[in-house]
Amino acid sequence: MSDHLSISEGHHLPVAGCKNESLYAIGARFESPDALLRATAALQKSGFSCYECHTPYPVHGLAEKMRLPKSILSLLVLGGGVSAILIALSMEIIPTSFIYPLVVDGKPTNFSALPQFIPIVVALTLMIGAVTAVIGMILLGGMPRFNHPMFAWDLFERGASRSFFIVVEALDPKFTTASVTELLQDQGGLDVTAIHQETFEEGARDLKASDKE
């Protein structure tokens, strides 16, 4: 981490977060999805892998440009749904057929009662499938996470609902402040900023304020 610090100190970028902390990434703002896609393609071409695009809404074609794999969420939901079917069937068959046979209206209690088990199987499958989908989306998306270096970048906070951001993380093997800054600026990136890990010290805010001036 201290390596990144020494790299960033030689550079005169606006800083988000506390300068005493390690460098998290270099971020840039883009005004249009076109510019974002072009910059992503350029990053991909230069061999960067540890970067992230922040958009206010899903931009078509971005995931393909970033070569992101298909979300595995559908597989998880399939697993959730299949286990829900098994849970529901055993929950119904074991009491009805074995431990507590209850004959009402002369309805069968053996396996020929299968059709009357279907409504609950459907309901439970949908319920557990939906719970898997939402929890899966939250966990796969790296949430819940309430502290993130990006929150220290006030420009992101102000612009997240309309602008597009590319953030190249310092962990990337090809990362050097100079090369990333140059690349982002070449691609039309605005407000190229060094983002440091967030701290909640008063000093950090003062520094940020003075940097803006």
Binding site: P33, L37, E52, P58, I99, L126, A133
Partner: protein
């Protein structure tokens, strides 16, 4: 559109494509930033006076309803008008009424999403909210109508020291699972779809408390490409599952009636009957909620356009016509069955002591939706508002007609007995209306009314141009 144009040019001279042009999703060429501001200003602005008035009225109604429920629990179900042979009356009527109303919300947000009906985006959030709150109101009744509320856990398959299990072959138990699953899935669909918008509110928050609260509920959403990828997959999956629920929940609820032998209930047409009625009353409720909302917040007029409301009206017309068809088929089936009890039940329904309920229901539901054939009716919003309320009144009478007028004319004429609602019945029912509007008003104040992220993604110019150009070039012969 650009793909279409390039293709057309390649073939022959350009034909007139203006008829293919869809009405704009957002009026007045608003940009994404305007959309954010317009939607967030409703939550961030000062609480208007009408909100406080509406909130106090609905909260009072809900409070009275709650007091009635408490009175019923400590006294017994005898405080309701229900009696032999009419064991189900306002409780199940209201349960079916509310759970049905929920369905249009699911249909608009899920089924129309899957069929890529982009116009539904602007009204989906309000419809989903209506769904969730209506199921909550519906959920009040099954829990309390069992009489001894402290035994409500008998409804669930909980291993217990009596060694007892519920009857899994009973539609009443299917109902428990259907409604629980419906509430869970639609709440999750509503909440998960809201996460990116709650993050926008978090970023815009000025006070520390606001930032903290929206920060917690938005779960640290950053809008990264990876998050969007999983989010979009989740949204499609949830929409698929919710679309199934639109059909299954009413089907299961209708089997409460259809699997019994009571004449007037014992009909195979019931699942469809309940489903079309459900979407019909739900469309009416969506209109009832959206039209005053547009008045209260003029910025919504560009987002929820007259064209959107027109489409809901058309959906209402279609479903209303299906309802009319079912009414006629039900009467035809009663006659064609050549079953004396079935025929007798329908004869008594329209000639008996409670004939005014079915007559009110039929006269509203057969006539009112048919007025929506006329464009002049559909475009006159105050009229649409009144007609939509009438449709819901008609639907309440329909649910009452199905539940009560069938029960009071059962198979044993000596037990026939007219039903009179008690004051507790009425106040509990208005209480659920109070609960619904209390929750809805809270929703207006604290949550973005329109799905901003999804709407912004469909605005002209919001997607990359060169992506579509590449696509167009690929399609060129």
């Amino acid at each position: 559109m650009s793909t279409l144009t390039t293709n057309a040019e390649a073939v022959t001279e350009t034909p007139d494509l203006s008829i293919l042009e869809r009405p704009p999703q957002v009026l007045n060429n608003r940009d994404p930033h305007w959309v954010t501001g317009a939607v967030c200003s409703i939550v961030e602005g000062k609480t208007p006076l009408w909100w406080w008035i509406g909130f106090s009225i609905s909260a009072t109604l809900a409070g009275i309803g709650g007091a009635c429920i408490l009175y019923m629990i400590v006294t017994g179900v005898g405080v309701w008008g229900s009696n032999s042979p009419c064991f189900w009356a306002w409780d199940i009527t209201n349960f079916i009424f509310w759970v049905s109303m929920a369905h249009a919300g699911s249909m608009i947000s899920a089924l129309l999403f899957l069929t890529r009906q982009k116009w539904s985006i602007s009204i989906a959030r309000v419809s989903e909210a209506m769904t969730v709150f209506a199921i909550m109101c519906a959920g009040v009744y099954p829990a309390i109508h069992i009489g001894r509320v402290w035994f409500v856990w008998f409804l669930f398959p909980v291993p217990n020291n009596y060694g007892m299990w519920p009857n899994f072959s009973s539609p009443l138990l299917w109902d428990v699972f259907a409604v629980t699953s419906y509430l869970t899935v639609s709440s999750l669909f509503w909440f998960a779809g809201m996460i990116p918008d709650l993050a926008v509110l978090r970023d815009r928050a000025t006070s520390k408390i606001r930032k903290f609260c929206y920060g917690i509920v938005s779960l640290g959403w950053l809008g990264t490409a990876r998050q969007w990828r999983h989010y979009e997959m989740m949204y499609v999956l949830l929409a698929g599952m919710t679309s199934v629920l639109v059909v299954t929940v009413t089907t299961i609820v209708s089997s409460d009636c259809a699997t019994s032998v009571i004449p007037g209930w014992h009909a195979t047409i019931f699942p469809f009957y309940f489903m079309v009625g459900a979407v019909y009353s739900g469309c009416a409720s969506v209109l009832t909620l959206l039209i005053p909302l547009r008045l209260a917040y003029p910025q919504l007029k560009d987002l929820v356009t007259p064209s959107h409301l027109d489409k809901v009206c058309k959906l209402l017309l279609f479903m209303g016509s299906c309802v009319a068809y079912v009414y006629i088929m039900e009467l035809f089936n009663a006659w064609y069955s050549a079953n004396a009890f079935e025929r007798g039940a329908f004869w008594e329904r329209f000639h008996g002591l409670a004939a005014w309920y079915p007559i009110t229901c039929l006269s509203i539901n057969l006539i009112v939706p048919q007025l929506f054939w006329f464009k002049r009716v559909r475009s006159c919003l105050p009229l649409v508002f009144v007609l939509a309320i009438l449709c819901n009144v008609g639907m309440w009478f329909e649910r009452f007609m199905i539940v009560t007028t069938s029960l009071i004319h059962d198979l044993l004429p000596s037990s026939w007995h007219i039903f009179h609602a008690s004051i507790v019945d009425i106040l509990t029912a208005t209480g659920t209306v109070g609960i619904f509007f209390t929750l809805f008003l809270l929703f207006i104040r604290f949550v973005p009314l329109v799905n901003m992220s999804e709407l912004k993604a469909t605005l002209p110019g919001s997607q990359a141009h060169h992506a579509t150009e590449e696509e167009g070039n690929r399609l060129k012969p």
